[in-house]
Symmetry: none
Subunit: 227 residues, 2 copies
DNA sequence: TGAAAGGAATGTTAATTAAGGTTAATGAGT
DNA sequence: ACTCATTAACCTTAATTAACATTCCTTTCA
């Protein structure tokens, strides 16, 4: 699946060039030119990264970054702006930005920085070898074993993958769709109900530790909170 | 424990300034001026981040980055250099760098970028959102829980986000539109009525503490006043 | 000028629809 | 025969839509 970029820019000319240039590198780009439309676009497309101009009609880029951070604390955000002052850059990082690029910039540089951020924020693939701590439990992925004290429960394949996905994303929202794709390979209706069944099972297994919770976010997915 | 920075720079004058400046921000800095000594210093100190000049006697910064990447694929590396060409920057990222700063740079910018990288590569423990005090209540955003004394009310997703927006903006006016965009992603008529419904719900939940009030500002939005 | 009328915005409660939770029954593979 | 995965049936909760009530701003006319 292509990497999705949410690109917010109000200068149509520059915007068009950048958009096309990114698209030629196999990115899936959604360009928005009014700050007020950004959250709608965000919710609609669920981007992998955001590139924000700072000076915009409607809402400025800093405000947008703050709002995005409320909903998504990990989305990589790059500011692209004509503001060259150090204070502006500092503000950019303060509101949750992860990089700051001064105009005029070269497309090459933007692309390289986009890729760098994507790589840095890739889920640190907790090497499926190592045991994962889950509250008072310990999960051994290579053996599909969930341990607490001296009791061991062997998990089935589907249970194991699901738990691993949750554990890798502790305290973050996880899309239902993402889970379905990773566990079942597709997100058809029946598999969707299947997921419900497996969530119930895991809740049951994990209920001995009351600090662990699988929160439902209706219409979105789940959040696995521990401690 | 202090964050340890491995700083490679051969200009003694600049090096001294930067080192002292970083140390004044509570970093533990080890400065090396010959490329050949870098790996030794690395092994010795086990830094949390590396700041590398590119042009050096002995070995250049790119080579050093490659060597470090062999042993440590995750150490954040920032290049700091007088080379301003885009090709140089690209090369910097190619060899494994994570940021690239052109000289002359401001200390503030370096520090902000160092902190950003440290944060990004921190184990993905994401949004350690803190609990928010709301009058006699306490709100735990991670768990969508509203607590008062020993009673806990679990909030739904929409309730939770809405309350969070209000709580973050205590005693300030909040645009209806802003809320709609952040909770629903758009501000259509139906969602607007939806907001009314959820405001009613929150007022109900919060009515136990009479010092809390959600004031309507007709035509504008709301103000969440506490105490 | 000011009281009344009208209307848009919001409040409240209830009904409806959609999403998910739970448990059990069925099916497929060893 | 056993285990796991899937499907089904029924239940619960959240989100949306609807219906009706209220507030308060604006307009208008005595």
């Amino acid at each position: 699946m292509k990497t999705k970029i949410l690109y917010v820019e109000d200068e149509p000319f520059l915007g068009k060039i950048v958009k096309e240039s990114l698209e030629s590198r196999q990115f899936d780009v959604r360009m928005v030119s009014d700050g007020k439309e950004v959250m709608m676009a965000y919710n609609d497309m669920k981007p992998n990264i955001a590139v924000l101009d700072v000076m915009l009609p409607g809402k400025d880029g800093y405000t947008l970054a703050k709002e995005i951070r409320q909903i998504d604390p990990t989305l990589p955000i790059i500011f692209v702006t004509a503001k060259t002052q150090t204070e502006d850059l500092i503000k950019g990082f303060e509101v949750g930005g992860n990089d700051y690029l001064r105009k005029p910039f070269s497309m090459e540089e933007l692309i390289v920085r986009v890729n760098n951020l994507l790589q840095l924020t890739q889920k640190q693939q907790a090497s499926p070898k190592e045991n994962i701590a889950i509250g008072q439990f310990e999960y051994a992925p290579q053996r599909y074993e969930l341990r607490k004290g001296d009791s061991i429960r062997k998990l089935s394949h589907r249970e194991a993958i699901l738990l691993q996905i949750l554990a890798e994303n502790q305290n973050n929202n996880i899309d239902r769709k993402t889970i379905l794709m990773r566990v079942w390979g597709d997100d058809s209706f029946f598999n969707s109900r299947n997921l419900d069944v497996y969530i119930t099972k895991l809740r049951d297994y994990l209920k001995e530790d009351s600090s662990i919770e699988i929160i439902t976010i209706k219409g979105i997915g789940y959040r696995f909170v521990v401690g």
